[in-house]
């Protein structure tokens, strides 16, 4: 069933989105080995004909108890490791990331390519198909259930500065409700917060991570502020339907948080229509 945008979700005509990633982590299939990676690429190759190699990501789980750091993760060394493959679209704006326990679909702005963010509904529709293809492959290979144990959705926004070091505080003040730097001359900025959330039964199941950082646009001297919002957690069950439901919830949480922590002045620049 196609994903439908919730009626009450804030909407912007020109959101400062630079990259969106949606993904799942699942129990690896013991029978799969890296030599079979070409069979995985074959599932997606028609739309993603380019391939790149990256270092694999360590497994990540949201757990609850003591407050958690937002940025530290441990990577236990377990001997030989599998690559993380990037399967890229011809214009390299979209990519599928695959490693034996993860599948992600990213959209990102690419220098010189003129196209708008395709919106979540289109991305999740494609991703649903992509997970289904992978689940079918692993079920045939391993003769066992495909069990998803974490879901993740990230929105990365780039907010340009006015060009000088002095503009960091001024732009942050104009853009974010959560930061008041008016009494300071700020050179750079690094702000993080987490929020955990519960299902209707009061059970904790996910966390939102918010980061605001000073940065340079890579390959350019342009200074920017990066606002990164991630929702990660365990789906209610290990099924694909449950994971998609989590990602839809996560998207709503990200968009609502984006609207809550940013100012009306910034909303006018981004063309808020709802």
């Amino acid at each position: 069933m196609p994903s439908i945008r919730p009626d009450n979700l804030p909407d912007f005509q020109r959101p400062p989105i630079y990259e969106v990633a949606i993904g799942v982590q699942f129990e690896p299939t013991p029978q799969y080995q890296q030599i079979l990676a070409h069979e995985i690429w074959a599932l997606y190759r028609a739309d993603f004909p380019h391939v790149e190699y990256q270092r694999a990501l360590p497994p990540s789980f949201e757990t609850f108890g003591r407050p958690q750091s937002t940025s530290i993760n441990i990577d236990l060394a377990g001997g030989a490791t599998h690559d993380r493959f990037w399967f890229l679209s011809p214009d390299k704006q979209e990519l599928i990331q695959f490693q034996p326990d993860r599948l992600l679909h990213n959209w990102r702005k690419v220098e010189g390519v003129q196209s708008e963010y395709p919106r979540f509904e289109k991305m999740i529709e494609k991703f649903t198909t992509e997970i289904g293809l992978l689940a079918d492959y692993f079920k045939k290979l391993g003769q066992q259930e495909f069990v998803i144990n974490q879901c993740e959705i990230t929105y990365i926004n780039h907010i340009p500065l006015d060009g000088s070091v002095d503009s960091t505080g001024a732009v942050a003040n104009r853009t974010f409700k959560v930061i008041d730097l008016s009494a300071l001359e700020v050179e750079s900025l690094n702000f993080q917060m987490n929020e955990q959330f519960k299902n209707p039964d009061g059970k904790l199941f996910g966390r939102l991570h918010c980061k605001i950082q000073s940065a340079y646009q890579r390959g350019a001297s342009d200074r920017i502020l990066v606002l990164e919002l991630t929702v990660r957690g365990a789906p209610e069950t290990g099924s694909i339907a449950s994971a998609i439901s989590f990602l839809e919830m996560g998207r709503s949480k990200v968009v609502q948080t984006f609207a809550k922590i940013t100012t009306e002045e910034a909303h006018k620049i981004w063309g808020r229509v709802q």
Partner: protein
């Protein structure tokens, strides 16, 4: 073992990361940032878990596999939700099916966490000497109860340390 910034995206920026701010929000946590040294229990647990995922198949003399990569990572993140910086390092022992058990034993109190799989843990606190059976709970990803158990054990551990110092 490496400690790294985790990212599943390519945000295409170079971070400056020069200093950090606090804002008056009702949020769960404000980060102390990357680059901190690990508490003693974290370093010990990471080293032990690395050894357990490198066990040979059949390490028990039969057909037991090593501790699974996912179970080891889940156990480590579970411990981060449970242990304060001063917590005593737990013993970590492999199971026969890729599972593992995390254990503390001090002052007559025993805490055992059996990690069957990610989001599937049986936690028990009691004493082998006591007549009652102790407390047992089945947990998924919320370890608030065990955090309290370990916090009480840590206080006991620290009080005894002060008394003997």
């Amino acid at each position: 073992m490496t400690v790294s910034a985790f990212s599943s995206h390519d945000s295409n920026v170079l971070s400056l990361d020069l200093f950090r701010l606090r804002a008056g929000l009702g949020v769960e946590e404000l980060s102390t940032g990357a680059g901190n040294t690990l508490p003693d229990w974290e370093a010990a647990a990471a080293k032990r878990l690395e050894a357990l995922i490198r066990l040979d198949h059949g390490w028990d003399g039969h057909a037991a596999p090593p501790v699974s990569f996912h179970n080891a990572h889940f156990a480590f993140q579970m411990l981060q939700s449970i242990c304060g910086d001063d917590a005593p390092a737990p013993a970590i022992v492999p199971g026969f099916d890729g599972d593992l058990q995390v254990e503390w034993q001090y002052g007559g109190v025993q805490i055992e966490l059996h990690v069957l799989a990610a989001n599937e843990v049986i936690a028990w606190r009691g004493s082998y000497d006591a007549e009652d059976e102790g407390e047992e709970v089945e947990l998924e990803n919320d370890f608030t109860t065990v955090e309290r158990w370990v916090s009480e054990l840590t206080s006991l551990f620290e009080a005894d340390g002060r008394a003997t110092a």
